[in-house]
């Protein structure tokens, strides 16, 4: 069980309002905990200072692993474990290994990447999902601040910021899973 957090969040009706609000928060030096939205908002990542995802590097590593697995395994079978002559072809027919090597590259890269993606996003099957607001996966765009243990004047700064920038709904919620 994670420690509980107090989250102050505001909902915006449009992604453009949210982008403007994030810019304002950057100018004022307010630290946004996270932004939640029903679809990816383009241009948001640099404003939040998010670095480019390194998932593709994981994909490359898994792919390389798959290529090596396929190629080396077939080589081991054909050269060492059970040498056999098929149709008078060489014992180590490299070109004929290409299709299976390629498929295993794609398989390992794809499966490895998706599993990594689920793990680093903290996604797992559970019967209860705690969300800040039900409409965030529908049509609302949310900016959330962590106000756990903060002085109440800090929370009120955040709250007035949300109201000023056009949030249509503001609430504080205790969350154990964010």
């Amino acid at each position: 069980m994670k420690t509980k957090k107090n989250i102050l969040f505001g909902l915006y009706d449009d992604e453009q309002d949210l982008l403007k609000a994030v810019k304002v928060s950057n100018e004022r030096g307010l630290k946004i905990m996270d932004v939640y939205s029903p679809f990816p908002i383009h241009g948001l990542d640099p404003l939040l200072g998010l670095k480019e995802s390194r998932l593709h590097i994981a994909g490359f590593i898994f792919g390389t692993l798959g290529a090596l697995t396929g190629f080396l395994f077939m080589s081991w079978v054909f050269k060492i474990d059970w040498p056999n002559v098929f149709g008078g072809k060489p014992l180590w027919p490299i070109p004929a290994f290409i299709p299976v090597t390629f498929e295993l590259t794609v398989l390992f890269a794809g499966v490895g990447m998706v599993v990594t993606y689920f793990i680093i996003n903290g996604l797992s099957m559970k019967a209860e999902t705690e969300v800040l607001h039900d409409r965030i996966s529908d049509d609302k765009f949310c900016i959330a601040f962590d106000v756990t243990g903060n002085a109440s004047d800090n929370a009120s700064t955040f709250e007035s910021f949300l109201n000023e920038t056009g949030a249509t709904y503001v609430e504080t919620k205790e969350m154990s899973d964010l």
């Binding site: 996270d34 932004v35 939640y36 939205s37 029903p38 679809f39 990816p40 908002i41 990542d45 939040l48 998010l50 480019e52 995802s53 998932l55 593709h56 994909g59 792919g63 395994f73 077939m74 079978v77 054909f78 474990d81 059970w82 098929f86 072809k89 027919p93 004929a96 290994f97 299709p99 299976v100 390629f102 498929e103 295993l104 794609v106 398989l107 890269a109 794809g110 499966v111 990447m113 998706v114 993606y117 689920f118 680093i120 996003n121 996604l123 797992s124 099957m125 559970k126 019967a127 209860e128 999902t129 969300v131 039900d134 409409r135 965030i136 996966s137 529908d138 049509d139 899973d177 964010l178």
Partner: protein, 460 residues
């Protein structure tokens, strides 16, 4: 930003939709009791499926002797159907992956359903080699696992084994791609649901939150999967064509096969997507999301790939003539003028002549015409596989072993049964998951919504 939009850009979402409207419209079908039309179709699909289950059970029990395959014609309807279904299974990944890389926004309206179609089509396809081997309970011998027979490994240089790897990889990657995209949409359903439904969708959505970092990774994983799936989809039908092209049968050992099979697969896949989407948009009332512009785009792809296929047919003939090799020349003349001339005619007419109708804008934007022609193309592509597979081997090197093949009732029932499987799964899917990718449609709304482009359905 609508101010930068070109005036020739056509809307992809009609009906002046807001984000909330999109959620309502697309999640709606999963929340309501199904309509009569859906129920009727579902019952029909299950009945057809039951015939298939019977025929497959019969085949497995008595062995493939209940088929009409003979000493000369060893591959008949089974492999024809296998290649046909695999070909249909190509459109989904093409739409999701290649169109994502090419930044074709119209994919958002159809990609989800097309991916589902891919998965179900591959399942139908995979069943055929499974029962064709005769001992369906031993099919795991295909896979290289440490066994007590040596261990004895499969032959890694056989195209038939490459097929096993290609199709299982294709199936796995397609499922992952599809499910990764479904996760945020399941979260949308979850947040509207109550009770047990909420628990189920909470599990299905893997606790998706939609934070900025979640979405960034989502886009990254989608892009890389698209990059992986693009060569994969080309490789799968290339390898299927190797099953024939690496043999020494006249009519089969043709170097043109890989590109020709891939083009044919895309061609038949898009035809099937159209058939299916036109039914789906009617049953679920999705005319605002699967628009005439989507249909027209797909018809253009059909026109291009259909013409590629046509050129390939003619090239094959020209090369047979140019080869100066009598067996090759005979194989092709026999296709057109031999005992199976009707299947050659069906292939030529439906695959080469029919798509040419789509040069006309009137026809390619007409729903009824498109539906009718897409079915003809599906039929034509079935004939193509039959022509390649069965007519090539019906006339052997030795006239004494020439033969003719007609399927038995069991073979026909198995084929029809795959439609039952396909439609049962697809209709079920339309009830548990959004048929159109909700998050993706929302993300293009501001660029392609009719109200932002100032073009409503009426003034087009």
């Amino acid at each position: 930003m609508s101010s930068h939009v070109s005036s020739i850009r056509e809307p992809l979402v009609f009906g002046n939709k807001s984000y909330h409207n999109i959620t309502e419209d697309l999640v709606g079908p999963t929340e309501k009791t199904p309509g009569k039309l859906w129920l009727a179709m579902f019952i029909l699909a299950v009945i057809v499926l039951s015939f298939g289950v019977f025929a497959v059970t019969w085949t497995i029990y008595y062995g493939i002797g209940v088929w009409n395959l003979n000493r000369t014609i060893g591959w008949g309807w089974d492999i024809t159907n296998f290649v046909w279904w695999i070909g249909i299974g190509h459109a989904g990944t093409l739409i999701s992956a290649i169109l994502l890389l090419f930044r074709q926004r119209w994919r958002t309206g159809v990609n989800r359903a097309a991916e589902a179609m891919t998965i179900f089509a591959v399942m139908c396809a995979a069943m055929f080699p499974l029962i064709h081997v005769g001992r369906a309970w031993d099919v795991f011998f295909f896979f290289p696992y440490p066994n007590t027979r040596g261990p004895l490994w499969p032959n890694f240089v056989s195209p038939l084994l490459w097929d096993v790897f290609a199709i299982s990889t294709y199936f796995t990657i397609s499922v992952l791609f599809w499910y990764t995209g479904l996760v945020p949409d399941f979260a949308t359903i979850r947040d509207r649901a109550t009770g047990l439904r909420k628990k189920i969708y909470s599990a299905l959505s893997f606790g998706w939150k939609g934070s900025a970092k979640n979405w960034q990774r989502f886009e990254s994983v989608s892009l890389v999967l698209a990059g992986l799936a693009t060569p994969l989809v080309l490789s799968v039908h290339t390898i299927v064509s190797f099953d024939f092209a690496t043999s020494v049968i006249p009519g089969w050992h043709t170097t043109i096969f890989p590109p020709y099979f891939v083009a044919g697969a895309v061609f038949s896949g898009f035809a099937m997507v159209l058939t299916l989407m036109l039914i789906t948009r009617k049953i679920l009332h999705l005319e605002d999301y699967i628009t005439v512009n989507h249909i027209e785009s797909m018809n253009k792809v059909i026109l291009v790939t259909g013409s590629i296929v046509g050129v390939a047919y003619i090239t094959e003939l020209a090369i047979a003539w140019y080869s100066g090799y009598v067996y090759e020349q005979f194989a092709f003349l026999n296709r057109a003028k031999g005992i199976y001339w009707w299947s050659y005619f069906g292939m030529m007419f439906n695959n080469v002549v029919i798509p040419q109708f789509f040069w006309s804008k009137k026809i390619r934007t007409n729903v009824t015409w498109t539906f009718f022609l897409s079915i003809l193309i599906n039929v034509g592509m079935w004939f193509e596989r039959f022509v390649i597979i069965s007519t090539s081997i019906a006339r052997d090197y030795l006239p004494s072993s020439w033969s003719y093949y007609v399927p038995t009732g069991i073979e026909i029932m198995i084929y029809i049964g795959t439609f039952g499987l396909f439609f049962t799964l697809f209709l079920g899917f339309t009830r548990v998951a959004p048929v159109v990718a909700i998050a993706e449609v929302k993300s293009i709304l501001k660029d392609y919504g009719d109200q932002y482009l100032d073009k409503t359905q009426e003034n087009i």
